[in-house]
């Protein structure tokens, strides 16, 4: 790790794979969990229903459980032999276990509580009087949600997305437990970093990948702040 010699910063092809895969996984984990995240946030913020406490608890579960446990639960449920995994594979031909899609699932699950909470807080801050006004103008419940609530909640959605994305960039325990650490298929950046930390002389590699990961997350964060500021300025309580 010489001062002048920056060669240690160069990524191997396998590491590039990990970078690509992490981006792919984080992107899809964030995007795919967004609709459900919004729906659940809305349910928790605005609807009372029996079993609400349970749903709320379930959403928070991945935060409370050690990631290894979450990963193991996913493996049991979504593995090839798991009830949901077998069903998905037979019915739709969708296989999650030991695929990048499974890594995306693991990251989505781990980031879900963060996403839901951010969006929920934003929904709770929307003045129901505005929604009532939309009602008098002929907008039904769903239309009101889409045309009034959702745009007002945009800053919260952006916050939820960046939290989910950042979490996915760092998620390791559940992912490696669920889909293993197969280079080019399920080896994300954090898994690759972990591997480096497990052998002598891996520090430089771990540092190198950590820097890449941090740089990507910083970039995403900057973009999100920009978007959020715009959304905020637009919505800005007059």
């Amino acid at each position: 790790m010489g001062d002048a010699d920056m060669g240690w910063l160069a990524l191997s092809p396998q590491e590039w794979d990990a970078v690509r895969l992490s981006l792919l996984v984080s992107f899809w984990a964030t995007i795919a969990s967004l609709p459900l995240g919004i729906a659940v946030a809305w349910l928790l913020a605005r609807v009372s229903f029996p079993g609400k406490a349970l749903v709320n608890g379930l959403v928070h579960l991945p935060l409370v459980l050690p990631p290894v446990v979450t990963g193991y639960v996913l493996l049991l449920l979504f593995g090839r032999r798991g009830p949901i995994g077998a069903f998905l594979a037979e019915t739709f031909g969708i296989v999650l276990a030991f695929r990048w899609t499974g890594a995306a699932l693991a990251c989505a699950v781990m980031g879900f509580p963060l996403m839901v909470r951010a969006i929920r807080l934003a929904i709770e801050a929307v003045d129901p009087k505005l929604e009532a006004a939309a009602g008098t103008l002929g907008a039904g419940r769903i239309a009101t949600f889409l045309v009034v609530t959702l745009p007002l909640v945009l800053p919260g959605i952006i916050a939820g997305m960046i939290l989910s994305f950042a979490k996915a960039m760092g998620e390791f325990g559940a992912t490696i437990t669920f889909v293993s650490n197969i280079p080019g298929q399920t080896q994300t950046l954090p898994s690759a970093i972990y591997t480096f930390t497990q052998v002598p002389g891996g520090e430089a590699g771990a540092l190198r990948l950590t820097l890449v990961s941090v740089a990507i997350a910083f970039g995403a964060l900057l973009v999100s702040e920009l978007l959020a500021r715009r959304a905020q300025a637009r919505v800005g309580i007059a």
């Binding site: 907008a139 039904g140 045309v147």
Partner: protein, 266 residues
């Protein structure tokens, strides 16, 4: 559903909010019905009940013979199916939409059969041409109120309910808007419920004045009859201790002294 012969507006409400107890019933015919009364007498609560934003503990709301709220029969048509254009006391513009989009909001959701109100004349009437591209943020109080009026007008409602719509406008602007409301009343025959503290506005517009006080009707008649009376210019005394009257076997139909058509008794 319009039942000929039925009054345009039939309202009977009983609703309790903390120490405030609303208990009233009135019916009125087409034209402008003014709700008049001191601050806190329940005008906005009645407005909310008409629009379906409040579910009264007991009550009936009918427009042109169509039942919108009937707690006895378990009817509560949701606000977005009522087609009531409401000008809120507090404007309630959508902060994320331009003034133009705010104005056209109701049109997106209006049924095809609804008459289309043209944007330009309304905008010109309200003097808000220069605001169309702006967002509500930064509008002055009167500008907001004007946009709110425009938004309700453009939603092509079958009943217009206006809660102190001109309170923060200057006289000159008021003198431009009032004739428009008169035309709406006389030519387009849109019934209007008009809440105001201004005697002159009420005198000019209203066919019927309902005088409220502490949630009760204390007078009902033409502006001439009502506005002259002393009650119309007294402030409500500090509210008397909680009234013991309970919501009981009280029937909205009874309170209105109207009989419901058999078809609706179900």
């Amino acid at each position: 559903m319009r039942q000929d012969g039925a009054p345009t507006l039939e309202i009977a409400l009983r609703h309790r909010l903390g120490a405030f107890d609303l208990d009233l019933a009135f019916a009125s015919d087409a034209g402008v019905t003014a709700l008049f009364g001191p601050s806190g007498s329940g005008k906005t609560t009645v407005v909310d009940a008409i629009a379906g934003l409040v579910r009264p503990q007991a009550g009936l709301v009918r427009i042109g013979g169509e039942t919108l709220t009937d707690t006895e029969a378990g009817v509560l048509v949701p606000p977005h199916r009522r087609r009531i254009g409401l000008v809120f006391q507090d404007a309630r513009l959508f902060p994320h939409l331009s003034v133009r989009t705010n104005l056209l909001f109701g049109r997106w959701f209006a049924p095809r059969s609804a008459p289309r109100v043209a944007l330009e004349p309304v905008v010109a009437l309200l003097g808000i041409e220069h605001l169309l591209k702006r967002r509500p943020r930064g509008l002055s109080g009167g500008e907001r109120q004007r946009v709110a009026i425009g938004r309700a007008l453009l939603s092509a409602p079958r009943l217009l309910v206006m809660d102190e719509p001109l309170a923060s406008l200057d006289d000159a602007r008021k003198q431009e808007i009032l004739p428009y409301l008169e035309r709406l009343r006389d030519e387009a025959r849109v019934p209007i419920v008009y809440v105001s503290h201004s005697r002159s506005e009420v005198a000019r517009l209203a066919g019927t004045v309902v005088l409220l006080r502490e949630g009760r009707i204390v007078g009902r008649g033409t502006p001439r009859e009502i506005l002259a009376r002393g009650e119309a210019s007294e402030t409500a005394p500090a509210r008397s201790a909680a009234r013991a009257r309970r919501l009981g076997r009280w029937s909205p139909g009874q309170a209105l002294n109207t009989t419901r058509p058999a078809s609706e008794r179900s």
